[in-house]
């Protein structure tokens, strides 16, 4: 050892120099020091042992050291370590590794080989700890293990046309419903799924639609950095949604200033995003105009349009980073649309039903996230939205003029509805981090909403003062066992009832990459507004109780998830012919879902597969007894495949979706009840969509060309049937055109890191 050698050398010289005149004391000191040096030399102690964790699993790469010394070693792949140390006497030996609590213990080094074994306890750590995953698909890269989809995934799902809802439909739990917008989750209606942006509920997340054709969502996937699609058992922070919550978190500051433009077969748009020089704030503005006139001229559509779908959308935002690292974000979007569609009347070949809808929607969201110090976090959210629909439904003759038949079931179709809806919300959530990563969270929200409608010259006014309080605790007992316990209380003046909804989730880590979780929760929701327009207005909340059991295995590039669920519906709304609406409906849904995503097996190929088995029945609406609802298929499956060829800068995306046939009914009114007059099951649903993205640079601008086709193989799909007035004739509900073609170019100016990163893939 160099130190010891140096000492010997030093003392030898010292001894030589002092030999002749050595003082007795010096002599004594010299001897003592020599002894020390010799002792030093003799005290080479071999220390060896093995390192395991508290479950007895071997840990490699643990650094073992003697405090304040360079001596030590590291555990190898069998957990063993062995090293020599030159210090002696009482020392401290340390074993440490990231993710584990450091262990220190005294050790006496005397030259005799020693065996020291370590058992390290895992540190409770956000990245390695178990997560409560029952019911939810988390997207974004906040937490590596739970990531399922991100915004780039959303836009590259073949056939989804960049629509968040369409992309989420490829995940288990969601139905392939195409005749109405919305996510139909686990036997629930579209109304039972709500979207939340930065904590607050979005009243009108979809563009205005005409009957039997689903519309797109209003929000671009690039607005969001994180998406959680929860198909059950969600947190007490979210209420007024029975079946599912889509929790969207908007992006913070953009990476750079950017200008963008897009041109496509159906829309044109442009935008600007400006990041301040100090990178503390940004603002942006975008405008888009969609007109399907050209497209419909080229691709024939089933229904005839008397006003071709036309949408304007304008959005603006600002984002400010606060001194303490918090964020203030504002986003607003204004949309206007006009659609008019004419379809043959089902009872008379001489007549048409003309449906026109003009919609104005203004949405605002302001949120403030701040760290308050001492482990406290605050999230404030507020939103304000107004939505106006002018709907005109008219019976017209072959000359497209308003016609009167004096046949009540035909003339009654003539309807004019003007509906003006506004909703203001505030929400506050406070969180306190406890020891480790446990936390408590509590808060409340208040909504004020009105709906003013004129239906066939009758005025309706609904006003609701809604308040809720909630509290929730994330408790990590160990790294392997966590619980989320919450409770939510709500009051709605419209319903005039209180409700209390407990929620509970547990998660247990069964291996390094696998875990089991279970969840239970009660969920309440106000009945849909339309029920209040007719008959009895004393309607209570509808209720669902969820039970979930989930197994998940995730590595960075692979995810396997299996979930079983049982859901009970109570107090569903029944609408008998007498208009005496009541809360006596009920139902259930149960099933098993599978999800597998793999980016590993084949390099640069990313695919996921999902399958859902659903057994559900409900008595609600006109259903006279518990029946399988028209929006629920027993078997649903999707396969999504994406491959990016870096050499040609082109990505190919394919999506195949399958759903078994769905039931359909004709309900006949007999006296004061409905009975099933006719019923059946549609044929199976198949669709295969694909898209191609080509990334390139033209002069200083980055350009992404996108081409996509839905339903490539032209499968004729039937979503259900419409019946004539007495159930003697039925007509298929089909998509407006078998295929949708899209061709577009998205151009951006400014530093685009997206491409840098994609190409680091090389």
């Amino acid at each position: 050892m160099p130190l010891a050698l140096f000492q010997i050398l030093y003392f030898s010289i010292f001894a030589l120099q002092t030999k002749t005149i050595m003082h007795p004391t010096s002599k004594w000191l010299f001897t003592f020091l020599m002894v020390l040096v010799v002792a030093n030399l003799a005290a080479q102690t071999r220390v060896s042992g093995i390192v395991k964790d508290n479950h007895g699993r071997i840990i490699k790469g643990v650094t073992i050291s003697i405090k304040n010394s360079y001596d030590g070693g590291a555990s190898d792949s069998t957990g063993k370590f062995s090293f020599k140390c030159y210090d002696k006497g009482l020392q401290t030996i340390i074993a440490k590794s990231i993710g584990y609590k450091t262990v220190q213990q005294p050790i006496v080094l005397s030259g005799t080989p020693l065996t020291v074994n370590f058992s390290l306890h895992e540190e409770i750590n956000e990245l390695t700890a178990v997560t409560v995953t029952a019911g939810s698909f988390e997207a974004g890269d906040k937490k590596r293990a739970a990531t399922v989809l991100n915004s780039l995934d959303v836009v590259t799902v073949g056939g989804a046309n960049g629509d968040i809802t369409n992309a989420l439909k490829t995940l288990p739990g969601a139905q392939q419903v195409g005749e109405q917008e919305g996510l139909f989750v686990r036997g629930g209606t579209g109304y039972e799924t709500k979207q939340f942006i930065d904590g607050t509920m979005v009243a009108n997340p979809y563009n205005a639609s005409v009957p039997d054709i689903a519309s797109r969502g209003r929000f671009s996937p690039f607005l969001f950095k994180g998406t959680v699609f929860s198909t059950g058992g969600y947190s007490a922070q979210y209420g007024q949604t029975l079946s599912s919550a889509v929790i969207l978190e908007t992006i913070d500051l953009p990476e750079s200033s950017q200008a963008s433009a897009s041109v496509s077969s159906v829309f044109v748009g442009g935008g600007l995003q400006e990041l301040a020089k100090n990178k503390k704030s940004s603002w942006g503005i975008n405008y888009g105009y969609t007109n399907l006139a050209l497209y419909f001229a080229l691709v024939p559509q089933g229904p005839a349009y008397f006003h071709l779908p036309e949408f304007h959308s304008l959005d603006a935002n600002f984002r400010i980073k606060t001194k303490k690292g918090g964020m203030i974000k504002y986003y607003t979007t204004f949309g206007a649309s006009n659609i008019g569609i004419r379809r043959p009347n089902i009872d008379s070949s001489l007549l048409n039903n003309a449906y026109g809808i003009i919609n104005y929607n203004w949405y605002n969201n302001l949120s403030w996230r701040e760290y308050l110090g001492k482990g406290w976090h605050m999230n404030l959210g507020s939103s304000f939205s107004i939505n106006t629909d002018k709907i005109n439904l008219q019976i017209q003759n072959q000359l497209n003029q308003r016609a009167f038949t004096n046949i009540s079931y035909i003339d009654s179709i003539n309807t004019a509805i003007t509906s003006h809806q506004d909703l203001s919300q505030v929400k506050a959530v406070f969180e306190k981090k406890l020891s480790g990563i446990s936390a408590i969270r509590f808060g409340g929200e208040y909504w004020y909403g009105t709906v003013k409608s004129i239906v066939k010259d009758t005025n309706h006014l609904l006003t609701d003062n809604f308040a809720s309080v909630f509290s929730e605790a994330d408790i990590y007992l160990t790294n392997d066992l966590a619980a989320k316990i919450g409770v939510r209380g709500e009051y709605s003046s419209q319903v005039n009832q209180f409700n209390v909804a407990p929620r509970l989730s547990l998660a247990y880590k069964t291996g390094a990459h696998s875990q089991m979780s279970a969840a239970y929760g009660q969920f309440y929701q106000k009945p849909e507004n339309t029920y209040y327009y007719y008959g009895n207005q004393n309607l209570g909340y509808v209720k669902a109780t969820h039970y979930l059991l989930n197994y998940m295995r995730t590595t960075t590039l692979q995810t396997f998830r299996l979930e079983a669920f049982y859901k009970r519906y109570d107090n569903l709304i029944e609408t008998p012919p007498t208009y005496q609406f009541d809360n006596k409906g009920s139902g259930y849904a149960q099933g098993v879902e599978l999800f597998w995503r793999d980016k590993k097996t084949i390099k640069h190929l990313d695919y996921w597969f999902s399958y859902s088995y659903l057994d559900t029945k409900r008595q609600f609406d006109k259903y006279p007894s518990q029946l399988a609802p028209t929006f629920a298929a027993k078997h649903t499956a999707s396969l999504v495949v994406k491959k990016f060829f870096t050499k040609i800068n082109t990505g190919f995306n394919f999506t195949y979706s399958y759903a078994s046939g769905r039931p359909y009914y004709y309900f006949q009114s007999v006296g004061n009840k409905y009975t099933v007059g006719d019923e059946g099951t549609t044929k199976d649903y198949n669709t295969f969509g694909c898209s191609v993205n080509y990334l390139t640079k033209i002069k200083k601008s980055f350009v992404v060309f996108v081409a996509s086709v839905t339903n490539v193989f032209n499968s004729s799909n039937v979503y259900g049937y419409n019946y004539n007035h007495n159930g003697t004739y039925k007509a298929e509900i089909n998509p407006p055109a078998p295929r949708f073609f899209f061709l577009g170019a998205f151009i951006s100016w400014g530093v685009d890191r997206r491409q840098d990163a994609i190409n680091n893939n090389l």
Binding site: L3, L127, R144, T556, D752, A757, I758
Partner: protein, 207 residues
Amino acid sequence: MKRVLVIISLLVATVVNAQSKFEDAMTKGLGQLKDAKTASDLTDVSSFFERVGDAEKTQWLPYYYAALSLYRSAWVDKTADKDKIADKCKDFITKAQVIENNADLYCLVQQVAILQLMVDPMSRWQTYGALAKDALADATKADPTNPRIYYLQGMTTFNTPEAYGGGKALAKPMFQKSVDLFKTYVPKPFYPDWGKEDAEKMLAACN
């Protein structure tokens, strides 16, 4: 008087001893780093530097090399858990930055960010791409004459196709700048001294 002399000599000896003890350790560690071939060699070197760093407490270099050797091990062992290694590297870098913050440490931050990005580039570019870029900006702010900054910048550009603002032509001046700076670059004893050959090789590859 003699006694005083003895004591002073002893004190001097201790200080000199400590100094040379650190220097010996650095020499030994750097020698091992140079000779390391397998991932396990590199983790052993990292572990050694970690112990030196922990014992010294005021030296950033051992932590720098602890992180650098571990970072290199992640590339040697294809099956290594890159995220786990990156977390450990970041831990070392943080410890080093508490002692001294400099361009070489920022460069290492960039390298570790790229390491994590490569785990799943398609979904990670947004986070780790930004981290990598910010790290090089910080490095330039700390010392614009550090040649490794331009080498790393050149590598990212080189690996980005021309269509997206990368390519040989754009990378070349970066490598050229790195090579030029290396000509006059004289590292202090034990300071990072890698990159010269790499930059020269890449510059040649750009032609």
